[in-house]
């Protein structure tokens, strides 16, 4: 008997009064054995979280939300349980770890209290026993010094430790099935690898089933036994991990693979972005939901909805052309090479250091300093991309803040095109304000929600006395792949990827020469990330832009960087041309970073012609 067997699961949400309910999960079948890991993959909005929540009865209650189909956990049907019956299942049979550990732990209760509560919800026991169980769970989650964590609060832990605490909380009542919803998306690469490894061995040790939800195919290989690919609320391909990654039969799976940057891929290679966006659940096409974006679609795709066809050995795919073995042609286009190494230097950090004061004591006096940047020298050449790699807290953002005049270095100089950035005269200041722009990770926070796109774009231009006529604004939007209609809308009307395009358009408005991209694509889905990375490459070619590209994702670095600088504890430990660093990393830390980069699919090999 399988640990979990989901048959024809469908979840619908009631719309506003007068609207039809919308089906966001439809006809999903899954199964899982104890000790096995199933990865559920798909772009955001494809229904992964809703599917997971329905295994715990955590979707909103009816009539807001209706669930049909069958979910057998350990042979027991759970669809249709009442709230009290669900309480017995949650935590003790099925448990869940959520995406953002900072939000998932209660800030006002100690880690120990929260874990002990989770245990005592299912097994009556003394406080002392519950404490012991909490320590045991923390230890299983490989939390350093588990005993000492009991009295700590979430804010006293680092991101990775918070996720360990959240995992300990989930497994404390010894569930049979653990669901981890994007458990590492919010974490650093180094920590990501550890957490993934720990989850894997937990399953083996505790003989627990694991459902790993992710939008990154990169983490699937090496961590999952089987994969289920979801698109628009449906399961479109499923099978053993090696089969699905090695011989994907559904064009959507192939597209996802092609859009995923790879550490072992060719350098500075154009990614194959998936055009368009997943269909709105209210306007799903009648035929194949992927049809509007499918590069190999034929006519009947728009009228006939494909069913999943069994391809043997548990591999199945939903595509009308599955027998013909559809294959999307990856356009193996290398990005133009750009100016050679040794091109004219545009920006230069020369032995710069930066420290932030720490305050404490009775009078809030400065009691010490955090040395964020320590004696860093680095240069960015005109028209080239320098990737700044390192864990969070390694000083990447602090370094760029000095170039952006948000902080003054304690020591050393920052030069931009011959201008001393710390002491520009009035003309030089204007040059700096125009030439150096920045795009941040979170396009939600960096665009003022009360301004229309027109104002957002025109504002910096007006300040610098540039022409802001309609044609100019439309041209800017076209450059980032948006149309003129966007001008009159507010940022909230756009998706994450589109907002990032608007942020880029705003940065481009002043015709800069250097753009600092601070984790600019980290929050985006792979498909969208590929689009934005391609856009940045195109803009570089057209305008000869230089990028200072901050990221923690080495696969992304591979696809964009001319040069790489690896930072750790405020220092650059290794810097040089990308090719050299990937092929022959000199510093141990670089080597370990490369080794920890999420394992990437071994196939299909994209041609490098």
């Amino acid at each position: 008997m399988s640990l979990l067997r989901v048959t024809d699961l469908a979840v619908s949400f009631a719309g506003r009064p007068g609207q039809d309910p919308v089906r966001v999960v439809d006809g999903v079948d899954l199964h899982l054995d104890a000790g096995e890991t199933l990865a559920v993959v798909g772009e955001s909005g494809s229904g992964k979280t809703v599917t997971a929540l329905s295994l715990l009865g955590l979707n909103p209650a009816s009539p807001t939300c209706t669930t049909t189909g069958s979910v057998l956990v350990d042979g027991t049907e759970v669809v249709g349980l009442d709230e009290r019956q669900w309480q017995r299942v949650r935590g003790s049979t099925v448990a869940m770890v959520f995406q953002d550990p900072s939000a998932a732990l209660n800030p006002l209760l100690t880690i120990g209290t929260q874990i002990a509560d989770a245990v005592r919800a299912h097994e009556p026991m003394s406080r002392e026993q519950a404490r012991r169980r909490a320590v045991e769970a923390l230890d299983l989650a490989r939390m350093p010094n588990p005993q000492g964590r009991l009295g700590q609060y979430a804010h006293e832990l680092s991101g990775g430790m918070r996720q360990r605490a959240a995992i300990a909380l989930a497994i404390a009542a010894r569930p049979r099935l653990l669901i981890a919803d994007e458990p590492t998306t919010a974490l650093d690469v180094a920590v990501q690898a550890e957490i993934m490894g720990m989850l894997g061995s937990l399953c083996t040790d505790l003989d627990m089933g694991l459902i790993l939800i992710t939008h990154d195919l990169g983490v699937v290989a090496g961590h999952a036994d089987r994969v289920a690919v979801m698109y628009a609320g449906r399961l479109v391909e499923t099978g053993a991990a090696a089969t699905v990654l090695g011989d994907p039969r559904m064009p959507y799976t192939q597209s996802l693979l092609a859009a995923t940057p790879r550490v072992d891929g060719p350098a500075r290679q154009r990614l194959t972005a998936i055009g368009g966006r997943p269909p709105n659940p209210r306007e799903r096409p009648e035929g194949c939901p992927f049809q509007p974006r499918c590069p190999v679609a034929v006519e009947r795709c728009s009228t006939t909805r494909p069913v999943r066809v069994d391809l043997g050995l548990g591999h199945s795919a939903a595509c009308l052309l599955v027998e013909q073995r559809p294959s999307i042609e990856p356009p193996a286009v290398a990005i133009h090479s750009g100016p050679a190494a040794g091109a004219e230097v545009l920006a230069q950090f020369d032995d710069v250091s930066l420290s932030y004061p720490m305050r404490g004591g009775l009078l809030r006096r400065v009691t010490g300093h955090v040395h964020a940047v320590r004696g860093v020298s680095l240069s960015v050449a005109r028209g080239r991309t320098v990737a700044l790699v390192g864990e969070s807290g390694s000083g990447k953002t602090s370094l760029t803040k000095m170039l952006l005049r948000l902080e003054k270095p304690d020591q050393g100089t920052v030069l931009y095109d011959g201008i001393d950035v710390t002491r520009p005269d009035r003309d030089q200041l204007r040059t700096l304000q125009r030439d150096v722009q920045v795009v941040f990770q979170n396009p939600y926070a960096s665009l003022d929600p009360r301004m229309r796109v027109r104002e957002l774009l025109a504002e910096p231009m007006k300040v610098h006395g540039l022409d802001t006529d309609e044609a100019e604004l439309v041209r800017l939007l076209r450059e980032v792949g948006l149309d003129a209609g966007a001008l009159t809308r507010y940022p909230t009307a756009f998706s994450g990827g589109q907002r990032q395009r608007i942020a880029i358009a705003r940065a481009l408005a002043l015709r800069p020469k250097l753009i600092v991209c601070d984790e600019a694509v980290s929050a985006l889905d792979v498909s969208v990330q590929a689009q934005v990375l391609n856009l940045l490459a195109d803009l570089q070619q057209q305008h000869g832009l230089a990028y200072l590209f901050i990221t923690h994702d080495l696969a992304v670095v591979r696809s964009v960087a001319h040069d790489i600088a690896v930072m750790r504890d405020g220092q650059v430990v290794e810097a040089g041309p990308a090719e050299e660093i990937y092929q022959d990393p000199k510093h141990d830390y670089t080597r370990s970073l490369l080794a920890m980069a999420p394992g990437h699919p071994t196939a299909p090999q994209r041609s490098t012609a």
């Binding site: 017995r88 299942v89 869940m96 929260q114 989770a118 804010h155 989930a170 009542a173 009775l362 009078l363």
Partner: protein, 313 residues
């Protein structure tokens, strides 16, 4: 913690100095001659001059201020210009009624406002919620003097179940004392009860929507424990802030309410002293009120830091 407390108390000193200066200056700007109030319209110019000299009113204002603060520092707030009683004794005489009123209002708030907010949040978007929310709108939009008059009319004059006004000291007759306190306490409490109810409802609803509540549900915790421990604690933090901000409003409500119900408390004391230009009384009483408000705010910050471990002293 102790260091924090010392620092916060030290910060109160400049605030008190400024407030006392402003208070002193404003009162000297009041129109009218105090000697007229004290000696009456018919008093001779000579008598007035003698009185002025006697009260120190001929000294420069800064010297008067220094004399007053110098006394205040040693616990001597001066004497009433009208009755010559020591200001401190007068205040001590009036304080119990006001403190009692305030305490009852706070107890009512905790007993009514908090639970009502919790019920409204747990049953949000039901009839119960709608009724409570509407009631709170009424409570917030009814002026205190109007509510006071209404209560006196209904309970004191028509139903005759509660005394319409007046005051009996607790030491004399505890039951009568409490009966006399009911209507004024409801009047004063009406606003703050409604404010606390709405704030509790809002912040509890927000907390119930947080990820950590979903985590608690996903671990199989019972709804009761989720609401009372996992959500309410977080929801109470902003309620404390709002409650502290309401202290000023509570004070002004007290002044009006004491006047309407003729309760001999600080409110009536201040109002009467202003009308009779008995400035030492006004100064002393207002100063006590200011110190009280500052201490309540400090207390709120301490409670806040105690509830939320992310706040460091």
């Amino acid at each position: 913690m102790t260091a924090y407390l010392i620092r916060r108390l030290a910060q109160l000193v400049p605030v008190l100095i400024v407030v006392s200066m402003v208070l002193f200056a404003l009162l000297r700007l009041l129109p009218g001659d105090p000697t007229t109030e004290i000696l009456g319209q018919e008093a001779s110019e000579a008598d007035r001059a003698a009185l002025r000299a006697d009260l120190g009113l001929d000294d420069p204002v800064w010297l008067q201020y220094l004399n007053w603060t110098g006394g205040a520092l040693t616990g001597d707030l001066g004497r009433s210009w009208l009755t010559n009683e020591p200001v401190g004794a007068v205040i001590l005489d009036r304080l119990p009624a006001t403190v009692e009123l305030g305490l009852i209002a706070i107890v009512l708030t905790v007993l009514i406002g908090l639970p009502a907010g919790i019920i409204a949040a747990v049953r949000s978007r039901t009839k119960t919620d709608a009724v409570m929310t509407t009631a709170s709108v009424f409570a917030l939009s009814t002026p205190h003097f109007y509510l006071a008059a209404l209560l006196i009319l209904v309970f004191g004059l028509w139903l005759r179940i509660l005394p319409p006004s007046g005051y009996v000291p607790f030491t004399e007759d505890p039951l009568q004392n409490l009966l006399h306190m009911v209507l004024p306490a409801i009047t004063i409490g009406s606003t703050i009860i409604a404010v606390i109810m709405r704030q509790t409802r809002g912040s509890l609803l927000a907390a119930l929507g947080e990820d950590y509540v979903r985590t608690a549900r996903a671990s199989g915790l019972a709804q009761r424990r989720i609401v009372t421990v996992y959500a309410l604690r977080n929801a109470v933090v902003p309620v404390v802030t709002v409650a502290a901000l309401q202290i000023g409003a509570l004070m002004s409500a007290t002044v009006v309410t004491e006047a309407v119900f003729t309760v001999p408390g600080m409110g009536t004391l201040i109002v009467n002293a202003i009308f009779s230009r008995d400035l030492p009384i006004v100064q002393g009483a207002v100063l006590v009120v200011v110190v009280f408000v500052l201490l309540v705010n400090l207390l709120a910050d301490l409670v806040y830091a105690r509830l939320d471990p992310r706040i460091t002293y």
